[in-house]
Symmetry: C3
Subunit: 185 residues, 3 copies
């Protein structure tokens, strides 16, 4: 209950920077990018991963409706995801998927998703390890909240884009299924 | 409790179409096939996946003791699985593993299994993506209930058989382990 | 609470066979090996897997601070893991990862870990199936407890070493992250 209210507050605060949802929803391929990073949130470090992911998604036909930065705080991440899942078909996070104590993006994502797509996370890792074995340490998940897909990418610009490359072709089909556009037998 | 009773009722209702369990159990490789599909359950669509899976299993030496159809209703699926896990060593479902809101076969399977075999589901997907990347979206699980193995396959006849092909060689060994036939050190 | 006390008791009992923790911690790569096996615990069978794993880890630069044997009893395994995670950076188990009813090592490990590293378990299986398809049946997990990494290997000496080979290169990096030595952005 408190989470829903906080999300509502979040949505209101974000509304000025987000394109009108109704018009965008009809296009289907809307995306929001969230950089999860303490130092970026404190503006001590320039966010390179968020813009790299947004650029990549634009080239693949997505309309970017929000780019946000949030600190490694589970409740803040959850509220952000809840708000963005109402205005974008795809919500992509970058950062906070490692095993350091401050890494809580997967926990926040699990908490707000109704179901997980284990195969998408598996594929990000199995494709990722072709470049670096360390990709196996990513705890990123992919899940569904309402009709939105939420996807956790690693924090480095290269790692984030490489992981996304491994699964981006699945996303338009997944979003159609979530909207109920593909018949269910 | 209510679930067990419902399953008991299910078993009684199904008893006429199922071979005598005692005689079959000694052979070990007994299998039941469940098609999970609203349209097949309403008889609006002919079930092609169930027969395709049954045919494949027969060729691999399994004795098919039941072929059932159930709608995409989590409780109905659970009751069906509970009943069939008492008369077949292997219970295979086809359908309901996707991400559309009506897809609940994995949820039903998790609910009735004591433990999951993540590696079997991983292998179905990793083998499946060799044919179609969309196999990564399957949420199918594999789990153990008592001495039975329950396996979720996708809904299309081709997808179901391809996924099963990727793991069928594991099944006889897994069933032996469940019956305690392989020594435990 | 009772678990912590039991672990404390365990630690005290084990103290004579364990090297002084303070001195070792500074080196980072300390490891404990636990053989989970009823027959080894009853001394009816010689433990070959534990020594094989310890030997392999030594060659990779780990200092072995404990080698223990425990029966396939979930509470006993949990207490053992809790105690060892305080004296070793890496705790490796061998045995009890299968699907026989007595196999409970993954359950014990999940119970004492704060978070799981699904990608490490996936990689042990995906590398393992190159040698034997049966590696897909291993339910072994990898998780974090405090600053320690806990890793479940299969019970056979060959299977245990092969699974470890698939992920050993990840471990030093993972341990650094757990100690907070790599900056978090």
């Amino acid at each position: 209950m408190r989470q829903a209210e906080a999300a509502e507050g979040k949505k209101r605060k974000m509304s000025s920077s987000i394109a009108e949802p109704k018009a965008l929803e009809s296009k289907g391929l809307t995306a929001a990018v969230v950089t999860v990073s303490d130092s970026c949130a404190r503006e001590e470090r320039k966010d390179l991963s968020g813009p790299a992911v947004a650029e990549f998604l634009k080239k693949r036909g997505f309309q970017i409706v929000a780019c946000e930065v949030v600190s490694d705080d589970q409740i803040k991440i959850q509220n952000m995801l809840v708000g963005l899942a109402e205005v974008a078909a795809l919500v992509v996070t970058t950062g906070g998927t490692g095993i350091a104590p401050r890494d809580v993006t997967p926990e926040a994502t699990r908490a707000v998703c109704e179901r997980l797509l284990e195969g998408v996370a598996e594929r990000m890792r199995s494709e990722g390890v072709r470049k670096t074995t360390l990709a196996a340490l990513s705890r990123g998940v992919c899940g569904v909240r309402g009709k939105a897909l939420i996807l956790n990418l690693p924090g480095s610009p290269a790692g984030a884009v490489e992981s996304l490359e491994g699964v981006v072709e699945l996303i338009p089909h997944a979003l159609k299924l979530l909207r109920g556009e593909t018949e269910h037998s």
